[in-house]
């Protein structure tokens, strides 16, 4: 494949408006993209809107009195809660009179969470309409028509921008008209604007990552790693002195403080970052051919190694990039949380305050503040490891629908061995990634607090989540075995676990909502006692799910192209 020269000469009949430039055809592509995403984007936008408005409404019913809000402010001011949600200044606003107190709670609780989801929407949208099209070869067909060199990227960015602007507008409208914040249009508009701003920045980030490699998966992965880094940087900043938060687009959004201080100027770095990243994407795109990455593909071995024909090794070979990426990310994430442990002890030295912070943990007794903090934030590591588990467990589905399972399953390789190999990699890979998070957490925690016991206790606490990860893989396996088209529903497990873990306490979800998540049953080590019974049950459930998935796959038709 070679580079297509800029815009082909337009037919004389074409109007001047159609143009002859590098963006010719953008309008047509944009309408086409809107048509393709006519269901997907509205669902994203509606879900995010409903989530925000429902949270706002729920806050009003749960904390009607100033005293209620003062109590929850104590809990939400703990370092663990700040690391999960957002900066402390919101907490000071909890007890403000009228709607702005609820607005402060809403901003604190939802901006960080919504920003991650909005970033995800932007990244997936841009990748879907650029690199995904190139990888499948569809872009080549389009680019051979009257479509300029920059038209596909421009259309994808405009689509993502339109989606976040519509979302921001609806959020402003909804918060201005509904819930405890109704009537405060300054806060509502700022809230909508910062959400749209985060989406715009990550659309720009995706515009860069789609230029780097040939594969849509890697492009999404790289952009989502930036999202993860942004979330982690602001967590570190919000627990510490705040400096690191200023390196994060999510931090900028939170530090506009809608309903608290209400400052618009953090939108400046946001807009600058969005423009710069998008511009970098355009520049990089001119340095490569259609369908190619920036790096030329390397040559491979002329013959296979002995191990390749062993199903687990083969699966590992396919997944090693994914697992290495998540392993590094989790090691860093754990290390970041570990480095905060020293601050935690300094921030809140008195044992009496701890009881107010988290009654559930205080009941366990004897736990240090660092241990309480570690127990609470460990769920974030587990959710990231669960994302890794879902990605790895859905790989068989990707292989099958791409037509790459068919030739293998027409050899002496049985379906059971093929699928078991893939699932074994998902099980062990996600467990190892979780262990790395625990090791990073423990090592950095021991360094920052001087408590060497953390070197063992935190990796142990991380491993306690392994049965939950296995259940996650099991859910994906059952869906794949019986309802392969519904397999992506396995994403609900980490999303649900994060949602319940993040919002459950503030919104006082009933207990059963936590019981639905496999991670809700994991003992919160090291603050709580190790209880093996739930772990044994989770392991048994995972084994049953995996067996059912393999059984279903053995008896169904292979999906063929």
């Amino acid at each position: 494949m070679t580079a297509v020269p800029a815009a082909p000469a337009p037919a004389p009949a074409r109007t001047a408006a159609a143009g002859t430039g590098a963006t010719t055809g953008t309008g047509t592509l944009l309408r086409f993209a809107l048509r393709r995403d006519r269901l997907r984007l509205p669902v994203w936008i509606a879900a995010l809107l409903l989530f925000t408005l429902a949270t706002a409404g729920k806050l009003e019913t749960l904390y009607p009195h100033l005293a209620d809000r003062a109590t929850i402010a104590g809990t939400m001011g703990s370092p663990a809660a700040l690391a999960m949600t957002g900066p402390r200044r919101y907490v000071e606003g909890y007890t403000a009179p009228g709607g702005s107190g609820f607005g402060a709670m809403l901003g604190h609780e939802t901006i960080g969470f919504a920003a991650v989801l909005i970033a995800l929407m932007s990244v997936l949208t841009v990748v879907r309409h650029t690199r995904d099209e190139e990888e499948t070869g569809r872009a080549e067909l389009l680019r051979s028509t009257v479509v300029g060199r920059h038209a596909p990227l421009t259309a994808a960015l405009l689509l993502a921008l339109a989606a976040v602007v519509v979302l921001g507008g609806l959020l402003a409208l909804g918060l201005g008209c509904y819930g405890p914040t109704r009537g405060d249009w300054h806060g509502a508009l700022l809230y909508g604007a910062v959400c749209a701003g985060v989406g715009a920045v990550f659309a720009g980030v995706a515009a860069v990552t789609v230029q780097l490699t040939e594969h849509a998966r890697s492009a999404s992965g790289a952009a989502l790693a930036v999202v993860g880094a942004a979330y982690v940087l602001r967590a570190a900043g919000d627990v510490g002195d705040g400096t690191l938060s200023w390196l994060s687009p999510i931090g900028w959004a939170q530090r506009s403080y809608p309903y608290v201080d209400g400052s618009w100027w953090p939108l400046l770095p946001t807009a600058a970052a969005a423009l710069l990243t998008a511009a970098a994407g355009y520049v990089l795109s001119t340095r490569r051919d259609v369908g190619a990455g920036l790096r030329p593909p390397r040559r491979g071995r002329p013959a296979a190694s002995r191990a390749l024909a062993s199903p687990p090794w083969f699966a590992l070979r396919l997944q090693r990039g994914l697992l290495a990426g998540f392993g590094c990310a989790l090691l860093l994430l754990g290390g970041m949380y570990g480095s905060l442990l020293g601050d935690v002890d300094d921030l809140l030295g008195a044992g009496a305050t701890r009881r107010a912070l988290d009654p559930a943990l205080a009941q366990a007794g004897g736990a240090s503040l660092a241990e309480s903090f570690a127990s609470i934030v460990m769920i974030v590591n587990a959710v990231v490891a669960a994302v890794c588990a879902v990605l790895a467990a859905l790989r068989p589905r990707a292989e099958e629908s791409a037509g790459r399972a068919e030739p293998l399953l027409a050899t002496g390789l049985s379906r059971t061995r093929w699928l078991s190999g893939q699932l074994a990699v998902a099980l062990l890979g996600s467990t190892l990634a979780m262990l790395l998070a625990g090791l990073g957490f423990g090592a950095a925690g021991a360094a920052s607090t001087g408590d060497r016991g953390l070197l063992l206790s935190l990796p142990g606490a991380a491993l306690a989540y392994a049965p939950g990860l296995w259940v996650t893989v099991g859910v994906a396996a059952v869906l794949y075995g019986w309802l392969p088209r519904a397999a992506p529903a396995a994403w609900l497990v980490p999303v649900y676990a994060f949602g319940v873990g993040y919002l459950g306490r503030v919104l006082r979800f009933p207990d059963w909502t936590e019981d639905l998540s496999p991670f809700g049953h994991v003992p919160q080590l090291p603050a709580q006692q190790l209880d093996l019974a739930p772990l044994a049950v989770l392991t048994a459930v995972a084994a049953a799910l995996l067996a059912a998935g393999v059984w279903g796959f053995r008896r169904r038709d292979l999906e063929t192209k």
Binding site: R299, A304, P407
Partner: protein
């Protein structure tokens, strides 16, 4: 013609497969004898790939039975797969594995690879085994699967349009290696659209249409079953020819003796002015009625006669020509009517 007295390598009876409301196979019968190269012909969507995937145990038939090398393809899929090799029509490779790795992977999972043969095939097909899966063209991806299939000691080769995307030079190499495989006693079921390839390689063919076999046999038998084209010049007008059974598409021209070489004839019955001295006829006749038609012609004073058997292309067109209007016709009637068009 090589025939075998042993059990057939493939035998399927009444295979039915539905995908939702679409009926992909509608009572398919298929028999492939051990040691033969069997051509599997049919238009796009006729059910060839579905049938092959049922024989591979990748899909499960809704009704009917199939035996492959004496075993059930769904139940005994894995042991059977050690004895057969498959080339899909649309080969997808792993983006981060080289072509050489993919060949070795497939062949080893099949139970072993003949190293020397593998290297020879890579050489003959002019394949660069170090390139990554993503960077191969369609033809080169097909080559990877073909080399992997032919480098192993499979008794049975199931090839689903294996040469789609191969250039003509590689087509020749492919035909050569398939004939080698046949000489080595292997059985081949070859689904194909390349009629020259089928005529060159296949002992017998089965023609599939709308999910069932329309016709099956050697090419000779198929030609006998269908029509021969006849062109003849007779001294007397060809009266009564049209009434003979099995004669189709009769065209007749009068021939004036002096002007015959210039071909100035007029349609019979048009009442031309020239002296009627002869007649030129063109028709197709069913194999079973050829003898009677030629006898009738010789009674008219036969001056010249040319006839040719149907080409495979004509055979195919006869079966598919009416595809668009196919609903409500039996396949036999369709085969008959196709010729009249």
């Amino acid at each position: 013609m090589k025939t075998s007295t042993t059990d057939p390598a493939v035998s399927a009876r009444g295979l039915v497969k539905n995908f939702g409301r679409t009926r992909a196979l509608d009572g398919l019968d298929l028999e492939v004898r051990t040691g033969e190269v069997h051509g599997f012909l049919g238009p796009n969507g006729a059910g060839k790939s579905t049938a092959l995937r049922i024989l591979l145990g990748l899909l499960r038939a809704d009704a009917g039975s199939a035996r492959l090398l004496g075993h059930d393809p769904w139940h005994d899929a894995v042991p059977l797969h050690r004895r057969l090799a498959y080339v899909p029509g649309d080969v997808e490779l792993w983006p981060n594995l080289s072509g050489g790795e993919a060949i070795d992977l497939l062949a080893r999972l099949r139970g072993g690879i003949d190293r020397a043969r593998r290297d020879e095939l890579v050489e003959r097909f002019d394949l660069d085994p170090t390139k990554k899966g993503r960077t191969y063209s369609k033809g080169n991806r097909q080559k990877v699967a073909i080399v992997a299939a032919l480098a192993s000691d499979a008794e049975l080769l199931l090839l689903d349009e294996p040469t789609a995307g191969l250039d003509p030079l590689m087509e020749v190499v492919f035909q050569d290696v398939v004939l080698q495989a046949k000489a080595a006693g292997r059985t081949v079921l070859l689904s194909s659209h390349v009629l020259a390839q089928v005529e060159k390689l296949c002992d017998r063919v089965s023609i599939i249409r709308l999910g069932r076999i329309a016709q099956s046999g050697t090419l000779g038998e198929l030609r006998h079953l269908t029509r021969t084209t006849v062109e003849a010049e007779t001294e007397r007008p060809a009266a009564g020819l049209a009434e003979l059974p099995g004669v189709h598409g009769l065209r007749e021209e009068r021939v004036d003796e002096p002007a015959a070489s210039e071909g100035s004839g007029a349609e019979s019955g048009a009442g031309g002015g020239g002296q009627l001295t002869g007649s030129r006829v063109h028709f197709a006749v069913d194999g079973a009625h050829l003898d009677a038609a030629i006898r009738h012609l010789s009674g008219l004073g036969l001056r010249s006669l040319t006839s040719h058997p149907p080409t495979l292309e004509e055979l195919m067109l006869r079966h598919y020509g009416d595809e668009l209007a196919a609903n409500g016709h039996t396949s036999a009637a369709a085969a008959g009517e196709g010729a009249a068009r």
